[in-house]
């Protein structure tokens, strides 16, 4: 038996198919992952993401600590209350320990890291913290619900107190603010507008029920994965891990090279790689005929012996054909071959994002 979120009984009663995910019993779907996916693209869906690990960083060195710990620079968000920043947390070799979001909480910071990497993340954060005046606290008292889709904000406002509705009205994209014990952020993992709300565990079931009453559809991890993949968003353990450079994972934009004297963990390694020119990069692949590209299939590129690999592949419900993210030799052209069940299939190479705000990009 795995860990259970505050919404476990709710998922069971709503017909969720519960599976193990990183040690947690989580809903995979409630019937059809494609219907759930489409509902998020066209209206609004909600996800229990309470398995994500929330870690608060306080203390007088909080900023300096995160500037050393993370490849992105929290100085970018310090003047904007609630502003969020996406970053990799690198090891000294330049591999990605995890990807995370950090919020400026006004004098301190809140980070959200992955559940499957929880133990190594907490150990690493604690180890680095030894040289700083900071306090690291995991917030396992909080549940988290993501409400995503073109109607997500409006429908969420309809079920919360007036103060929270007003707070939501004032949120800019990629900003989160507290209201009492709640923390409401305009962030997500679907390529749609929407909210991620952290709230006390004991409030979660009533909030979920109120959203369901407002016709926000419960969605499982399966739809979450096809939505994030269409949006070209990375999933830790697929697009990157401890042995993969952020430069090979479409995370170059999350590295703050300036100021050049900011020393962050992994900087020397990825700076050398950047100067030499990264040998691999992350691209999107599309296959407009029958068949579905899958993770771990091998990618062959003309003009090099080096092989690429599909890091995530699926059928795209929005596009009606298969899409994939692949880490490939940087010399790749407009097409490549994928070994699909023993057949070499020619596919098109595109930028690694496929759908945004309901609209196809390919």
């Amino acid at each position: 038996m795995g860990f259970k979120t505050a919404l476990f009984a709710t998922h069971q009663s709503m017909g969720g198919k519960l599976v193990d995910f990183g040690g947690w019993d989580m809903p995979l779907h409630y019937g059809s992952q494609i219907e759930e996916h489409n509902h998020v693209r066209n209206a609004a869906g909600m996800f229990d993401v309470s398995h994500m690990t929330v870690v608060d960083v306080t203390g007088e060195d909080a900023k300096a600590y995160l500037q050393y710990l993370l490849a992105n620079d929290v100085a970018k968000i310090e003047s904007i209350p609630g502003k969020a920043l996406y970053s990799g947390m690198l090891n000294p070799d330049g591999g990605v320990i995890d990807d995370l979001i950090v919020y400026n909480m006004g004098g301190w910071f809140r980070t959200v890291v992955n559940c499957g990497t929880r133990e190594k993340d907490l150990a690493w954060m604690a180890k680095i913290a030894a040289d700083f005046k900071v306090h690291i606290k995991e917030r396992d008292d909080l549940a988290m619900v993501a409400i995503q889709g073109p109607n997500a904000i409006e429908l969420t406002k309809s079920v919360v107190a007036q103060t929270r509705s007003a707070l939501i009205d004032g949120l800019k994209i990629f900003q989160g603010l507290p209201d009492g014990e709640w923390f409401i952020a305009r962030t997500g993992y679907t390529g749609e507008d929407g909210l991620e709300i952290m709230l006390p565990s004991e409030d979660a079931a009533d909030f979920w029920a109120a959203l369901a009453g407002a016709s926000v559809v419960p969605c499982g991890l399966a739809a979450r994965d096809t939505l994030r993949l269409e949006a070209g968003m990375n999933l830790y353990g697929h697009e990157m891990d401890d042995s993969v450079s952020p430069l090979s994972a479409n995370m170059g934009w999350t590295i703050a090279w300036q100021p050049s004297d900011r020393n962050f963990i992994g900087r020397a390694a990825i700076e050398a790689e950047k100067n030499a020119g990264p040998a691999f990069k992350l691209v999107g692949l599309v296959l407009r005929e029958r068949g579905v590209m899958r993770a771990e299939q091998i990618v062959t590129v003309d003009g090099t012996e080096k092989k690429g690999v599909i890091t995530s592949g699926t059928f795209s419900p929005t596009l009606g054909y298969s899409i994939a993210l692949a880490r490939v030799p940087a010399t790749i052209g407009n097409q490549c071959h994928v070994d699909m069940r023993g057949k070499q299939v020619l596919v098109d190479v595109v930028a690694p994002n496929f759908v945004r705000n309901g609209k196809p990009l390919v």
């Binding site: 029958r290 068949g291 069940r341």
Partner: protein, 130 residues
Amino acid sequence: MSDIRKELKYLSSHEWARVEEDGTVTIGITDHAQEALGDVVFVETPEVGSRVSIGEEAGVVESVKAASDIYSLVSGEVIAVNEALADAPETVNSSPYDDGWFFRIQPDDLSELEEALDAVDYRELIESEE
């Protein structure tokens, strides 16, 4: 609980076969299989007029999650395929034993089906997997 039909024969790889009144054999995948695969998005059936053999791959079913080979329970000639699955593969999820059939065979030797699992054996198999 998966729907398992008494009158059908089964393979451990989760295909079913039904002997029609005219002696032909219809092949599809079980309710348990469609449930495990999740939303089906493509079905590749053999061509009408081609031959299929026991133990050889006769088609492929792909869901959002996974691809799976399809095997026939009898050898013979393919006399019909379910063309509707090309446009509506989700029929495999909603009606695995009826509208979601895959292909139909004129069998060489109907007694080959005696090697297949009956409903009781098949239920035991999937309960042991769960």
